[in-house]
C-alpha cells in the first residue's frame, strides 16, 4: 500500500460515478402524527414519579420500586466514560409521560384511533385484522404507551403471555414483582435508574415451561412527541425448556431537538430455555450537521439463569444521534450460552459507543461476540466490550471478533475490548481488524458491470454477513436495504 498516494484513495478512480452524486435519501419515517396527547408537565420530581404510577393505577410494590429507583438516581452521576460527547441534558426539560388521548386501552382494534393505525400503517406495521403480518405478533408502542397487541388470543392458547407492560402489571402482578429488576437492578447505572423511576410502558413476554413460542414476537417503538422522553421497559421470561424469538423495531420523527430514549430490557432464561432478541434500530439520527436526533441510552441484559440456557442478541444499529448500549449476558447456569451479533453503522455526525458484556459465572459457559462497525462521514463508532471469566467458570470459552470498516478519512473507529480472567481452565480469544473498501475491489466489481453504489453496498453487506445471518429472514433483507440507504452519499 505504501506506493499509493493519498489522492489515490476511494474517490479518484471512480469520481465520475461516485455515490456522492446520488441524492441522499431523506429519513423515511420522519413524519409527525397530529394527535391529541395527554402529557404531564415537564420536569422530574418524586411527585412526577407518583403521578406516573397513579395514572397507571399501579400496585404499591411498583410505586415503591419506582421511588427507590428515583432516590438512587438522584444520588448518581451521569456516566462520562463512553467515547461520546453531547451537551448536558436538562432532565427538568423533559416530559416524562405522554399518551395519545383515548380513555383506556381498547378491547378491540376497531376502537383504536384511526390516526394511530394509520401511523403504524405508514411505518409498515399494519395492525388491523385484515392487514396485519401473518407470522409475527406485534405490540405497538406510541410514545409512552402500548396501543395495540396483535395475536394475543392465539398466543394465549399456547400459554404464551404477550402484552403491554401495563397490562401485565394489572393481570400478572406476581410475575412482574418476581422478575422486574432481577437482571438489571435499579441502581445498575444512571440511565437504568432513571428508567426504573419513570418507565411508562413496554412489552412483557412470558413463555411457560416447555413451550416453543408458535410465532415471532415483535415490539415496534414509535416516538412521536418532540419533547418527550421515552422510557420503555421490556421483560421477557422463558421458563424451563421454553424458547422464543423476539424482534424490536424503532423510528421517530425528525425534530431539531434531541429526544432521550432510556429503555431497559431484561431477559430471563431458565433451564434449557432459549431467547433470541433481535433489534433493528432506526431512530432519527439527526441531520447531516448533527442537529436533532435521538439519544439512545439503553440498558439491555439477559440472565442465563438455568443450566444449558441460551440468550442471543442481534442488533443492527443504524439510527440515533448517540447510541450508548451494551446488550449483555450473565452466564450463570452451567453450560449456558451467550451470543452477541452486532452491526453498528454511523454516518454524518452520529456517535455510537456500543458492545457487550459476557459475564461467565458458571462452568463450561460459552460466548461468542461478532461486532461489525462501519463509520462514515464525521461519525464516531466505538466497540466497547467486556469478557469476564469468574473463578468458577471452569471450562468456559469465549471467542470475539470485532471488525471496523472506515469510509472516508474523517470517521473514527475505536475498539476497546476488555478481558478479565480469573480461571486458568478457560480460553478467551479476541481478534480485531480494520479495513476499508479498497479501490481495487470496487474496480473489480465495476469491471464486471456492477454499478458503483451497488458495489459499495455489496461490500458492506458482505462485511456484515455474519451478523445478518443471525436475523430472522424478513429482518435481514430489511437491514440490508437500510444499510444501503444510510450509506448513500457517504462514499466518493
Amino acid at each position: 500500500m505504501t506506493a499509493t498516494t493519498p489522492s489515490n484513495a476511494v474517490d479518484a478512480p471512480v469520481a465520475s460515478t461516485s455515490v456522492g452524486d446520488l441524492v441522499s435519501q431523506p429519513y423515511r419515517y420522519g413524519f409527525v402524527t397530529d394527535i391529541e396527547t395527554d402529557k404531564i408537565a415537564k420536569g422530574l420530581s418524586e411527585d412526577v414519579v407518583r403521578l406516573i404510577s397513579a395514572k397507571k393505577n399501579e400496585p404499591q410494590f411498583l410505586l415503591d420500586f419506582r421511588l427507590r429507583a428515583f432516590r438512587q438516581w438522584q444520588r448518581m452521576e451521569e456516566p462520562d466514560w463512553a467515547a461520546v460527547g453531547y451537551p448536558p441534558i436538562d432532565y427538568q426539560d423533559i416530559v416524562y409521560y405522554a399518551a395519545p388521548k383515548q380513555q383506556e386501552k381498547k378491547a378491540s382494534l376497531d376502537e383504536v384511533d384511526p390516526k394511530l393505525l394509520e401511523t403504524f400503517d405508514k411505518l409498515g406495521i399494519p395492525l388491523s385484522e385484515q392487514k396485519r403480518l401473518s407470522n409475527v405478533a406485534v405490540d405497538a408502542v406510541f410514545d409512552s404507551v402500548s396501543i395495540a397487541t396483535t395475536y394475543k388470543e392465539k398466543l394465549a392458547e399456547h400459554g404464551v403471555i404477550f402484552c403491554s407492560f401495563s397490562e401485565a402489571v394489572e393481570e400478572h402482578p406476581e410475575l412482574i414483582e418476581r422478575y422486574l429488576g432481577s437482571v438489571v437492578p435499579i441502581a445498575d447505572n444512571y440511565f437504568a435508574a432513571l428508567n426504573s423511576a419513570v418507565f411508562s410502558d413496554g412489552s412483557f413476554v412470558f413463555i411457560p415451561k416447555g413451550v416453543t413460542c408458535p410465532m415471532d414476537l415483535s415490539t415496534y417503538f414509535r416516538i412521536n412527541s418532540g419533547d418527550t422522553g421515552q422510557f420503555e421497559r421490556t421483560l421477557i421470561v422463558a421458563e424451563e425448556g421454553a424458547s422464543v424469538s423476539y424482534l424490536e423495531g424503532c423510528t421517530a420523527p425528525m425534530f431539531d431537538t434531541n429526544q432521550l430514549h432510556a429503555a431497559v430490557v431484561e431477559l430471563v432464561a431458565l433451564d434449557d430455555a432459549s431467547i433470541k432478541y433481535s433489534t433493528v434500530q432506526n431512530w432519527y439520527a439527526g441531520d447531516e450537521n448533527g442537529k436533532g436526533g435521538i439519544y439512545n441510552f439503553v440498558t439491555k441484559r439477559g440472565l442465563c439463569k438455568g443450566p444449558r440456557s441460551h440468550i442471543s442478541w442481534t442488533q443492527v444499529e443504524t439510527g440515533s444521534s448517540i447510541t450508548w448500549k451494551y446488550p449483555s449476558c450473565v452466564l450463570a447456569g452451567a453450560d449456558s450460552v451467550g451470543e452477541f451479533y452486532s452491526v453498528a453503522l454511523t454516518n454524518n455526525c452520529q456517535q455510537a459507543d456500543t458492545g457487550t458484556k459476557m459475564v461467565h459465572v458458571g462452568e463450561r459457559t460459552r460466548s461468542t461476540i461478532v461486532s461489525k462497525g462501519i463509520s462514515a462521514g464525521r461519525s464516531s463508532n466505538s466497540y466497547r466490550g467486556l469478557v469476564q471469566l469468574g473463578p468458577k467458570a471452569k471450562g468456559a470459552r469465549n471467542y470475539s471478533q470485532c471488525d471496523s470498516m472506515l469510509i472516508g478519512d474523517q470517521a473514527a473507529a475505536n475498539t476497546y475490548p476488555y478481558i478479565r480472567s480469573q480461571q486458568p481452565q478457560s480460553a478467551v480469544e479476541h481478534e480485531a481488524s480494520t479495513c476499508r473498501i479498497s479501490e481495487d475491489q470496487l474496480f473489480y466489481l465495476q469491471s464486471r458491470g456492477i454499478a458503483f453504489e451497488e458495489a459499495v453496498s455489496m461490500m458492506v453487506s458482505g462485511f456484515c454477513r455474519d451478523v445478518f445471518n443471525q436475523l430472522p429472514l424478513e429482518f435481514a433483507a430489511e437491514a440490508d436495504k437500510l444499510l444501503a440507504l444510510k450509506l448513500e452519499g457517504s462514499v466518493g
Partner: protein, 394 residues
C-alpha cells in the same frame, strides 16, 4: 515486610521529608498530584499497596553491586555500572572507551511528563544520569548494569538519548533490585531520520521491590525503534512506554514478556501514536501468570486522520496457569484514518491440551511437556534479548 502500609498522603510526605534538597517544582508537583487514586481509569486494576509498603524514609541511593558485568564478551561494547554512591554511572572494568557525546554528570534537566507517576517520583531524586548524543551515522553498543548492592535502594536512572540521522544505538540494560527497593528508570529518546535504537531491558526484582518505568520516544520518519523488555519478580512492576511517530513513516517494535508468579502485579500500559502517514507498529505482549499474580495490559494505539496507510499490529497473549492468578487485558485502538491496516488480538488461556498431548504422544511426560511449552512461550521474546541478558532469565 514488617513495614505497615501507609496511607497515600503520608507516604508522599514521608518521601518528601526524606528528600529535602529536591527541586521545589518537583516537590510541589508531587504534593499537588500525589499518588494516583484507585478510581483513576489507568490505575483501576493496579494495586499500589506494594509501593505504600516501602518505607519512604529508608529509600536512598545505594552503591552498585560488585561483579557486574561478569565477563567481557565484546571489546567494542561500552559498559557502565552504578558507582560507589549509587548516584552516578562509571565505566565497568571491561568497557570500551567512552565515546564523544556521552555525559555522565548529573545535569539539571527539565522534568519529564508529570502525568506519569514514575516521572513525578523521578523528579525528587538525583539518580544516575546519562546523556548521549550520537552523531549522524555513528554506531554504539552500550550496556548498563544497574544493581544496587543492598536493600532499601532508591534507583532512579535517567537516560537521555539523542540519535542523529542514521545513527545506531544498541542499548542493553540489566536492572536488578535486592529487596524493599524502588526503581524508577526514565528514558527519553529522540530519533532523527534513519536512526535506529534497539533497547533490551531485563528488570529483575525481589518479591518486595517496586518498579515504575517510564519511557518517552519521539521518532522521525525512517527511524526504527525496537524495545524488548522482560520483567521477572517484583511486588509491583509497571511500565509505561510511550512512543510518538512525529511524522509517521517510522517503524516501532515492542516486545514484552512478564514472568509473573507469587503475588506479583505486572502492568504494561503502552501508548503508540502516529502523527503522520505510513508508520508501522509491531507489538507483542506476553505474560506467564502463575501463583496469585495479576497481569495487566493496556495497549493504546492512536491513528489520527493524517496517519493514512498506517500498518499496526498488536497482540496480547496471556498464559494463565493458576486458579488464584488473574489477568486484565485491554487493547485500545482509536482510528480516524480510513486507509489503514490495524489488527489486534488478545488471548487468555492455559497451556494448550492439544500441544501437550502432542508432546506426550512423543514420550515426553506431562511436567516436562508443560515446562517445554512454558519455555516456548517465553522464547519468542527472550530471543530478542542479547544472550547475556537472556541467560539471566533462565
Amino acid at each position: 515486610m514488617t513495614t505497615a502500609v501507609l496511607q497515600r498522603g503520608s507516604w508522599v510526605e514521608g518521601l518528601l521529608a526524606a528528600h529535602p534538597t529536591a527541586p521545589e517544582s518537583s516537590r510541589r508537583q508531587l504534593l499537588e498530584q500525589g499518588l494516583p487514586a484507585a478510581r483513576e481509569e489507568t490505575w483501576r486494576f493496579t494495586d499500589l499497596a506494594p509501593l505504600l509498603a516501602l518505607d519512604p524514609a529508608r529509600l536512598q541511593p545505594r552503591a552498585g553491586a560488585d561483579g557486574n558485568p561478569n565477563a567481557a564478551t565484546d571489546a567494542a561494547v561500552v559498559r557502565l555500572q552504578l558507582d560507589g554512591r549509587g548516584t552516578g554511572l562509571q565505566p565497568a572494568a571491561a568497557s570500551a572507551p567512552l565515546p564523544q557525546g556521552l555525559k555522565l554528570e548529573p545535569t539539571p534537566l527539565p522534568l519529564p511528563d508529570a502525568a506519569l507517576l514514575s516521572a513525578r517520583l523521578h523528579g525528587l531524586t538525583s539518580g544516575p544520569s546519562l546523556q548521549l548524543s550520537l552523531a549522524a551515522n555513528a554506531r554504539l553498543q552500550l550496556e548498563l548494569w544497574l544493581e544496587p548492592a543492598g536493600a532499601d535502594a532508591l534507583l532512579a536512572p535517567r537516560l537521555l538519548l539523542n540519535l542523529g540521522e542514521g545513527a545506531q544505538l544498541q542499548l542493553a540494560v540489566h536492572l536488578r533490585c535486592n529487596g524493599s527497593s524502588l526503581a524508577l528508570p526514565w528514558v527519553e529518546a529522540q530519533l532523527a531520520p534513519g536512526a535506529e535504537l534497539t533497547e533490551a531491558w531485563l528488570f529483575q526484582g525481589d518479591a518486595t521491590d517496586v518498579l515504575l518505568s517510564g519511557c518517552s520516544v519521539q521518532q522521525a520518519p525512517g527511524s526504527r525503534y525496537s524495545r524488548s523488555a522482560v520483567v521477572k519478580g517484583w511486588a509491583l512492576a509497571r511500565q509505561e512506554p510511550q512512543v510518538v511517530q512525529s511524522k509517521g513513516a517510522a517503524h516501532t517494535q515492542l516486545r514484552d514478556l512478564a514472568i509473573t508468579t507469587d503475588q506479583a502485579v505486572h502492568d504494561l500500559h503502552s501508548r503508540v501514536r502516529f502523527e503522520g502517514p505510513e508508520g508501522t507498529l509491531d507489538q507483542l505482549q506476553k505474560a506467564l501468570v502463575d501463583g496469585q499474580a495479576h497481569s495487566i495490559f493496556n495497549g493504546s494505539v492512536q491513528v489520527p486522520q493524517l496517519a493514512q496507510r498506517t500498518d499496526a499490529a498488536q497482540l496480547s497473549r496471556h498464559l494463565l496457569l493458576s486458579e488464584r492468578a488473574k489477568v486484565d487485558t485491554k487493547p485500545e485502538l482509536e482510528i480516524v484514518a480510513d486507509d489503514v491496516r490495524c489488527t489486534h488480538g488478545a488471548t487468555v488461556s492455559s497451556l494448550s491440551d492439544e500441544e501437550l498431548f502432542y508432546l506426550r504422544s512423543r514420550g515426553i511426560d506431562r511436567l516436562t511437556g508443560a515446562e517445554l511449552l512454558r519455555r516456548g512461550f517465553c522464547a519468542e521474546i527472550l530471543r530478542e534479548l542479547p544472550p547475556l541478558l537472556a541467560q539471566e532469565v533462565a
